[in-house]
């Protein structure tokens, strides 16, 4: 059954020129792999993290000091998020330099831009969660920057109803980070892959 599932991922027909490594450098596939690592490590981190202002930082310290593999897991999650963003930007660069955003792939380019924005927003919401000084001030500055946009104060009170250091806002960022944004990224990714396959694009993991 597993081998049948794996076989069904491969297209029936693939163009020979699409099989070269230098066609895409596997950047999109690597980015999706990084995202899968984020999901797995994130799920494991959820077992110890407590999303309240009083407990957030101490739960992270507990994870690092008293849990076997805790320090490694937290570093893995953090470093993979940096890698994910770098890979997405390199993938975007490849798409621009090969002109893949043109007809008939314009819709996929738009989906890709949405994916970029959602991933960046996901990284931003995740940044607040350890609730240390770095997290607090980065979020504070980001939220004030958001407030300078048109309808900015309105957007700001949607995202941060009571203040960056308070409970409602941390919980909102947590909900966005662990569920709402990953669901959006997953669904858009599948749509993205469907469109690539429809345009007779690459193999899975190539």
């Amino acid at each position: 059954m597993i081998s049948e599932f794996l076989k069904h991922l491969f297209p029936r027909v693939v163009l020979e020129r699409n099989l070269r490594f230098s066609y895409t450098f596997c950047l999109g596939g690597l980015a999706f792999t990084a995202f899968l690592i984020m999901i797995t490590s994130g799920m494991l981190l959820m077992i110890y993290y407590q999303p309240t202002p009083e407990r957030a930082f101490s739960s992270v310290l507990f994870l690092e000091s008293s849990v076997w593999g805790g320090k490694y897991l937290r570093s893995l999650h953090r470093l993979t998020s940096h890698t994910l963003l770098v890979l997405i930007l390199l993938h975007t660069l490849r798409v621009i330099l090969t002109g893949t955003y043109q007809k008939p792939r314009q819709m996929n380019w738009v989906i890709g831009c949405l994916l970029l924005f959602l991933t960046l927003f996901g990284a931003y919401t995740g940044y607040l969660l350890p609730f240390d000084q770095l997290a607090f001030w980065a979020t504070q500055t980001g939220v004030e920057l958001l407030a300078t946009l048109p309808f900015g104060t309105y957007l700001r009170s949607l995202l941060v109803p009571d203040g960056v250091g308070q409970g409602l806002s941390l919980l909102r960022f947590y909900a966005l980070h662990i569920m709402i944004i990953p669901m959006g990224v997953l669904q858009l990714s599948f749509l993205h892959f469907y469109r690539v396959r429809k345009n007779k694009g690459v193999l899975p993991y190539l």
Binding site: W137, Q140, T141, L158, D162, G163, L168
Partner: protein, 131 residues
């Protein structure tokens, strides 16, 4: 007229439903009294000398006294949210160099709005700062 995949009626229905549910969602996301009208900091009136001030660092509030009474300023810089530092001549933000006077008005710097003034309530000997 161009043939559209959707009739005018169904387009308007979908649009109305989308806007209505969007509006309800936004109302759900904005609770009332999410941090309003509670005492942020409290001090004894005797602790604040005339022409002086009392600093609440973790609450980011400064309680000042002038000849006509007490008033409180938020120490959150109106530029990008750093905590302003208190100096003898006024308030200075360490992040990008904004300067404010004792009233919270902007003297210099990238900030363009005055520091927020917080309501102050006097109950006998105690002064409460509300937010």
């Amino acid at each position: 007229m161009e043939k559209t995949p959707q009739s005018r009626r169904s387009f308007l229905t979908s649009l109305t439903l989308l806007l209505a549910s969007g509006g309800l969602l936004v109302r759900y996301l904005m609770p009332r009294s999410a941090g309003n009208r509670r005492v942020l900091a409290s001090a004894a009136a005797a602790d604040v000398p005339l022409g002086g001030a009392l600093l609440f660092r973790s609450e980011r509030i400064i309680l000042l006294r002038k000849d006509t009474g007490f008033y409180a300023l938020s120490l959150i810089c109106t530029h990008l949210g750093c905590t302003v530092t208190v100096t003898e001549n006024g308030l200075a933000c360490p992040c990008h160099g904004s300067l404010f006077d004792r009233q919270g008005k902007v003297l210099k710097g990238p900030a363009d709005r005055a520091l927020i003034q917080l309501p102050v309530e006097e109950h006998g000997e105690r002064i409460d700062v509300l937010g």
